[in-house]
Each structure stands twice: as structure tokens, then as C-alpha cells.
Amino acid sequence: MKRYFLALLALPTLVFAEDTLNSGDTAWMLVATAFVMLMTPAGLALFYGGLTRSKNVLNTIGMSLGAYSVGTLVWVLIGYSVAFGDGDLIGTGKVLLSGITSDSLSGTIPELLFVAFQGTFAAIAVAIASGSMIERVKFSTFMIFAALWIVVVYAPITHWAWSGNSTTLNFGEMDFAGGTVVHLNAGVAGFVVAMILGKRKDYGKVAIKPFSPVLVVLGAALLWFGWFGFNAGSEVAADGTAASAFLVTNVAASLGVIGWIAVEWLVYKKATLVGGASGAVAGLVAITPASGSAGVEGAIIIGLVGGAFGFYGVAKLKSMFKVDDSLDAFWIHGLVGIWGSIATAIFIADYAMPENYNMGSQLVAQFSAIGLTIVYSGIVTAIVFYVASAITGGGRVDEETESRGLDETVHGEKAINI
């Protein structure tokens, strides 16, 4: 993965023969994979679950849990093959992991581990997108959508960016851990579905109170924790670049908190915990594509601007659109993801700077990847969602279900019984 990018940077990692298992790298990747796994049914589930209203908490959490489960299945069935199989436009040949044994290697780690690691990315991408649809999308529609989306939207985009195949749709963009592939992609997908679904009945009318900022912060903390696996794990080795990625990830997340809260304080004279937690996520999104190349100064700027930008997006820009992006997946993952992708080309540590680096042409590559992702994800997501809606007899719950809340109606449960 990221072989292209790695080659670009001519990292010494590649000097290691590709055919010997390194137990240190494997140890790190076992853990990194577990970390990223935790992000979906725990981190994102609580982050989103805490942000939603008390009558839809379980439904929101169920989206993440379901997305992870369905995503994992689809990934081993076909997604991995499309993303990392051989081929130009899409990969093939690894359906049901055909041909991969416990001895197969991917670099210095077992390929089965690489499969698992990449699968967690696919799952979280679609789970992030669920945030835009929440409080009105049908549970069954979303599950079908999740399965289809991973195969026809996520896997191809991954293939172009990371498969290492000489595919026509790779522009040489720098996306170390998935700023464009995962976050922008998911943000756009969420936005498009939110547009198709229409607004929630209460949107803009009734004050929407989050179930619990405690869960929001806990979710964000778990996301932050897991993100070390996401970013430093994307090095697929326990080395100096992984260490650098780890450090800048931590710094950018911290600055995201500071950036969001600082602007919020200036505007409203309040420092919310939902804001701090959202800022952390914004900082993390922003550093994701740059985590393999940015240095500490870059991370400070990327995170700070990421946090401030996230606030600006949800507090100001959002109201200029008529789209009810329930939990702001687009604003925090999409908008901030674009910032991160651009910043990646600008803020590079001396020690990570490729020889003959040309910022101008790199920026073109970044914008090309951004553009491709927006267009492809935008269009194909819409198609996928229409298909999923058709299969499940409409993608939106009825009015009564919406007003009583989905926890009671769809799941027959309550978030808390005191």
C-alpha cells in the first residue's frame, strides 16, 4: 500500500527485501489493525451516538456496528480484490482472498494482516458517511448501501490511490493514510445521500440536543487512539516514518482541539466539549494525508487550521447550503479533508522532503485527486443509494417513525433505562 508514494519518497524501508517477515513490523501492524477496528464500533459509534438525540442514539450506534460488520464481510469477499488485486481500472483475482495463505507476505508482514488492516479502512469510511444520514435513513437501506458502496465506490478509489498498480487514475498525489481516499470520499458520499434523503422534519426548527457530550468526548478519544494505527500504521512498518507519523498525528489532533475551541470562544464565549472533541477529529482528518511527510511545525499549522476550519464549516458555511448533513460528516471529513490534502503538498518536513520536490506540480496532483474523488464518489454514491433505496422500498423512514425516534421503532430499545 502506498507503495507509489513510498517509492516517491525513496524511503529506506523499501530496501528491506519484500519477502521476509519482520516480527516487529508484524507486531505493530497487528496492533495498528486492532486500533483502527476500535475506531468504528466504539470510537465513531460513541462520537456519533453522543451527538444524536436521545431517541436515535442506538440507531446511530447501530449504523457504525452494522457498517463494520457488513464492511468486513464484503471486504474479504470482493472488496480487497477490487482494491488490491491486479488490474488497471479495478483489481481482480483475489475474490474471497483466493491464493492468500498465512505464508503470503505483503512487504514485511503477512498479507492476511494487510487484508485485515485495509478492511478496517473500508468499514470506517462508510460508517463516517452514515453521520450525514442519521435520524431518518432506513437501517436496512443503509446496510445494503454500505455493502455496495464499499465495492463500487471505496474499493476503486483505493485501487487508484494505493494499489501500486500502474493505473491511469493515479496522479501521483500524496495521501499517506487516506485523507482523500477515506475522509473526503466519505464526506462527499454522506453529503450526496443527505441531499437525496432531504431534511429531517425538525431540522432548523427545534433545538437539537446531543444525547451526551461525555460519549462524544470518549468517542473522540478512542478515535484519536485508533488514529495512531490509522496513520502510523499506514507505514506498514515500525520505523522512523511510523514514529514521525505518530508524533504529528498527536500534535495535529491537539491543535485541532485548540483551534476549534479558540474560535468558538471568540465567537460565543463558550468552550464546548462537543467542540473540543470535534476539533480533535478535524485535526486528525487534516493530518491524515500528510502524516507520513509533515514535520512538527507543519502538524501544528495543519491541525490548528483544521480545527478552526471545522468550526467555520459547521457554524457558518453549512447554513449556506440547504443540505441537512445531520452530524456534519461532510464538513468535518470532506471540507477539512480537502484542506489536509492541499496542506500535504505544502508542509513537508525537511527529513521527508523528496529530492527535486516541486510543490506546484504536487498541488496539481492533489487537486486532481480531490476532483476525481468528488466527482466519482458524488455520482456513484448517488446511484448506489438509489439502488439501495429501491431494494428496500424507499430509503427514508415514515414520519411517525422519525418523530418517535428510530430506537423505539426500528430497534425496540432505549438508550438508557434508569
Binding site: A207, K209, T272, V274, G275, V314, A315, K316
Partner: protein, 112 residues
């Protein structure tokens, strides 16, 4: 017998209870309610949106007392619950026709 209901500020509960205990009121039932009145609510934030909270947390105390003690009870509550700031709350007095103590079956004044 009369029912005295008082809607007060939550942090005054202990004071009022103690004051009532001192004048011999040994039974009451308390619940958490939300009050809407002249007191302006604080504002809450949610992801960059600000909104005013209309309903403020209050405590409702209900106690059924003998006709004679109503006067003393209400003045005790007023004294203990007053802060002088808007939102201190109200007291309502109404008639109760019958009381029964479930445990013993005693009724009316004996059951207060």
C-alpha cells in the same frame, strides 16, 4: 387538609427541607420539573449553533398538611427558598379531601 406545592430552585432543596423539618413537617414528596417563567434561560451550544433553553430545572415539593399549619408552612418555604432573584418560584395551595396511609389504613389528619 391542604396540599402545599412549591416550585423552587434546585439548590434550595436542602435548605427548604431542613426549615420544614424544624417546624415539624415530616412528610413530603419531591420531583424534578422544568419551569417556564420570567426567568430567562441560559444558552446552550451545539456544534456552532446557539440556542436558548426555555425550560429551567426546578424542584417541585408537595406536602399535604393540616389546615392550621398552612400559614406556617408557606411562610417557612418563602423564607428558606427566597434568593431575591427572578425565578425563585411559586407556592400553590389547594384542598385535599381525603388522605389514606397505605401501611395502616389510617385516614385524614392521622395520616398526614
Amino acid at each position: 387538609m391542604k396540599r402545599v406545592e412549591a416550585v423552587i430552585k434546585p439548590f434550595k432543596l436542602e435548605d427548604v427541607k431542613d426549615a420544614l423539618a424544624e417546624i415539624g413537617i415530616t412528610g413530603m414528596t419531591v420531583s424534578e420539573v422544568k419551569g417556564y417563567g420570567r426567568q430567562k434561560g441560559h444558552s446552550e451550544l451545539y456544534r456552532g449553533a446557539e440556542y436558548v433553553v426555555d425550560f429551567l430545572p426546578k424542584i417541585k415539593m408537595e406536602m399535604v398538611v393540616t389546615d392550621e399549619s398552612v400559614e406556617q408552612v408557606t411562610s417557612t418555604i418563602v423564607e428558606a427558598a427566597r434568593t431575591g432573584k427572578i425565578g425563585d418560584g411559586k407556592i400553590f395551595v389547594s384542598e385535599i379531601e381525603q388522605i389514606i396511609r397505605i401501611r395502616t389504613g389510617e385516614t385524614d389528619n392521622e395520616a398526614v
